[in-house]
């Protein structure tokens, strides 16, 4: 499903964010990416959805080789993945329904297919009563649920979440995790960068720990150690 081989990322200012990272993610896995701030978590996540290109090495996601992919293929690649951000990144001028529908519209889905599918995923995240609200009229947790609905509406193979609970209180974070685990239970691969120690310890999954740009731990069911 996902394969990173000897990936190195150096920014234009000379800083090396990731050094010689190799890993394989199988379909249907739930993966935490943890590490202190500045360790390189976000760089890894951004490389996975091709916001950043690796300086060297290769990244294969499904049939796409991200290191050599043509710019014109990027939109089509992104349609196979769902992305969830810490700051939600919803379109402020679109309603809840329209935000989720937009992800289907860009793949040129028919109007008659869009409506039932959007209603279905909004029901899945518990927002079927707030279809006509604008993002500014929702709480943080609700906005994140809209973002998750948008990420899964096209039934992607993989959902990539960059600190999805970073801006949310513990109770709301639990709700978001419930949804992500439910999506994973349906067979979607979930890769989640997080700082949330309690969450990782209470809901164990495969854990990748990055420190100083290197992968220092890859453990199934791993948890935050006390000294971290």
């Amino acid at each position: 499903m996902i394969q990173m081989k000897n990936v190195m990322k150096q920014y234009d200012n000379g800083v090396i964010a990731i050094k010689d990272l190799s890993l394989t993610v199988d379909p249907g896995e739930f993966l935490y990416v943890i590490g202190p701030s500045g360790a390189g978590k976000s760089t890894v996540i951004k490389m996975l959805y091709h916001e950043l290109k690796p300086t060297s090495g290769s990244i294969q996601v499904g049939k796409y080789d991200l290191a050599t992919m043509a710019p014109s293929d990027v939109p089509y690649f992104r349609r196979n993945i769902g992305i969830v951000f810490q700051d939600f990144k919803l379109l402020p001028r679109l309603t809840v329904f329209e935000n989720v529908a937009y992800a289907m519209q860009v793949v040129e889905a028919k109007d008659e297919d869009i409506k039932p599918r959007v209603l279905h995923v909004l029901k899945l995240v518990g927002l079927e009563q707030k279809l006509r609200r604008f993002p500014s009229e929702l709480s943080g947790g609700e906005q994140q649920r809209v973002a998750i609905a948008r990420a899964i509406v096209n039934a992607p193979d993989v959902v990539i979440a960059d600190e999805p609970t970073g801006n949310l209180d513990p109770d709301t974070s639990e709700g978001i995790m419930d949804i992500l685990e439910r999506i994973n239970a349906d067979g979607t691969t979930v890769i989640m960068a997080t700082h949330n120690r309690e969450m990782v310890n209470e809901r164990p999954h495969r854990l990748l720990e990055i420190a100083g740009g290197r992968l220092v731990r890859d453990e199934q069911g791993g948890s935050y150690s006390d000294e971290e």
């Binding site: 349609r79 992305i83 990144k89 001028r93 860009v106």
Partner: protein, 295 residues
Amino acid sequence: MKSNVFMRHVRDSLKSLKRNGWMSVAAVSAVTVTLLLVGIFLALLLNVNRVSTQVENDVRVRVYIQKGTTKKQQAALKDQLEGLANVKKVTYRSASQELNSIVGSYGSQWAMFRGDQNPLNNIFLVDTKDAKDTISVAKRADKFKHVSEATYGGTTAKKLFRTVATIQRWGAFFTILLLFVAVFLISNTIRITILSRRDEIKVMRLVGATNAYIRWPFLLEGAWTGLFGSLLPMLIVDFGYGLVARNAHFTEAANGFSLYPNMPFLVWLDLGMALIGIVIGGLGSVVSMRRYLKA
């Protein structure tokens, strides 16, 4: 592109225009002010050009026929004049017709010269194909037999030609300058609205929208901004031009010059303003967002 996708873009662009609220109002207002200036100046410049051309074309060669020339000789002279290069039309006016027009213009005291007292000559009025040919035609006609004198207005006409050329040159310059200002102002306004929405464009790209898909609603929104911005200038210019044309009518009749008639001039002017708005609005959007669409 599928027609349902295009219709979706049209719907979305209108919806977005509405939801952008004051930003849209600001953009439409900027286009309105710019196109109002463009409309007024275009109407003015086009008419100045028209009247100056009419003034220029009013310059004709007057060929004074020597007294005592027989009708047969006059007919031969007319043929000779018509045979000259660049001559469009030769009109005969008798001495009494000339005197009548003087009486009409300067008063009845000139009527005492009617009949045998008439000191004026019979003349031929020669229209040339191009006003600037009057000088050469006059010079050649002056050498013909039975011609007492051939005039074209002398230095006055030369000055007139120079003035008209200057007016037309500056008119063209101002028109081009004005169009540049319009392009700059409208595309700048559109650029500011796009700048405020660059995060939206980023999100659209992250959910897998192609650049073409992102571009369409923005292009259409820019075009709507241009079109809506041109409506008020059209109304004001149409109303204003109608008013000016009506009041100028009497003066025109006396001088023999005329402004462009309302129809179809205003239709073309309105179409021009709408087109400038739509094209600059639409293209301005596409050009402004180009940098945010780079992979």
